[in-house]
């Protein structure tokens, strides 16, 4: 079993929700109406904060994703 690791630079970034929205929306072909932008950005910031908590968790490096879920 590998030693626990801290995920590297992944956690340390400053998150720009507006920029993220513009780039990802273009990549996945998701038009976002002007009226919806603020709400989407707030939710992106919340998801990013949650993802950061996950990045900071000590999970051994060789842990596989639980893509096939068996309780």
């Amino acid at each position: 079993m590998a030693e626990p690791r801290k995920s590297s630079a992944k956690a340390a970034s400053t998150f720009d929700a507006e920029r993220h929205l513009d780039m990802m929306a273009a990549l996945v072909d998701m038009p976002v109406a002007e009226a919806h932008r603020d709400g989407v950005c707030q939710n992106l910031a919340r998801i990013h904060a949650m993802a950061t908590l996950v990045f900071e968790a000590d999970v051994p490096e060789n842990t596989e994703p639980a893509s096939v879920h068996r309780p």
């Binding site: 995920s7 992944k10 993220h20 929205l21 990802m24 929306a25 996945v28 072909d29 998701m30 038009p31 976002v32 109406a33 919806h36 709400g39 989407v40 950005c41 707030q42 939710n43 992106l44 919340r46 998801i47 990013h48 904060a49 949650m50 993802a51 950061t52 908590l53 996950v54 990045f55 900071e56 968790a57 999970v59 051994p60 842990t63 596989e64 994703p65 639980a66 893509s67 879920h69 309780p71």
Partner: protein
Amino acid sequence: MTDIHSIAASVRSGRRSARSVAEETLARVEAGNRALNAFTHVFHERALADADAVDRSIAEGRNPGPLAGVPFGVKNLFDVAGEVTLAGSIINRSNRPAARDATAVARLRAAGAILVGALNMNEFAYGYTTENSHYGPTRNAHDPTRSAGGSSGGSATAVAAGLIPLALGSDTNGSIRVPAALCGIAGLKPTFGRVSRAGVYPFVASLDHVGVFARSMAEVALVYDLLQGADPSDPACRQGVVEPVVARIDQGTDGLRVAVADGYFRETVSDEALEAVDAAAGALGIRERVALPNPAAARAAAFVITATESGSLHHARLRTQADQYDPLVRDRLIAGALVPAHWYLEAQRFRRWFVDELNRLFDQVDVVLAPATPVPAPLLGQQEMTVAGTTLPTRTGLGLFVQPLTLNGMPIAVVPWHPPGRLPVGVQIMAAPWREDLVLRVAQALEERGFGAGVATAEQQEVRHA
């Protein structure tokens, strides 16, 4: 109205007709639903036709089933043959009617139960408050100014108000456990894969569970046993294992290692919710506490997985019909559709670690208790709540203690704690995957020691309004 066992016994013995039960139930639903908005559709003709079929079975000497004549409702994401499955949305109104009942609905109807209606929910099951911009909020039967919890709030309110004795709901991040607690009734989220989800509108494929609301654990156990069984139509349930629990829930807690969840679960929590857990520990005579593995990150991983999978599920319609989504849900789904794969896969890696760690923990203890929600029911429309000095958004904060615990698919029951003159809260009772028997034994023991549901009568509702 009375309990599931009594209704079935009276119908099976011929003391009452299923039709009279159905007629009485439909009248009660019509009268009681106006103030609570639990039902989005009432199936008058279907219910009376099904009740007549049960009565004919009895007249012809056939077995009408263990739930003969028992009225029930389903969260409106369950397929009902001939009806359009709304899942709390207006977009789905243009879908074709369901060709057949969801497996869970079919199993209850085959057991003689009478489907009387479909129940309100957060749009596409995304939320903890059953505030729905299309169909209005469902109100808490104990105080109609307050939330019923969600997303299966219609199911919980209908049972708590005594409109029906039984309802089905779904639980992806706590959508059975939160409303059961805030409405003060019994709820069960079985092990992931135990009960078929075929014909249930999806939210997050790897987290979606089907479960039961009733007013006692004995009733929950009876229905849960009837819902079990393999179903090739649900990939998670294909190899379903049938392990009936009804005969086992009265075995008591002697010999069981029960502990209270420590740390995270005792920090951002109200006095009322903590009192419930400590009362449960006191009732069972337990002092042990255990720390669950990184619950904050478990909640975060579930949050990321939920956002990503649901955003992907709705991607095509969000591109062209975003304006038809509930504004309370739309922006969350769009944001979820923009999550990078790396965030999602890191959450799934964490999940694997969490599952393994929890399995190790269940080598040491059999059952763990934790609060279901940080607070009793918040007011409808309440944007924030302050809990133990911490301010949380109400719509996500209600999931603080349920969301971390869906990740490993373990069975969890909620028993209500409802002191007179107060709003109810709930205690989560969890065990290793596939050990519903242990969960229900402890839940039953607590019901025998002062936990459990009361009925919010019309008189009580008026007193609260006065």
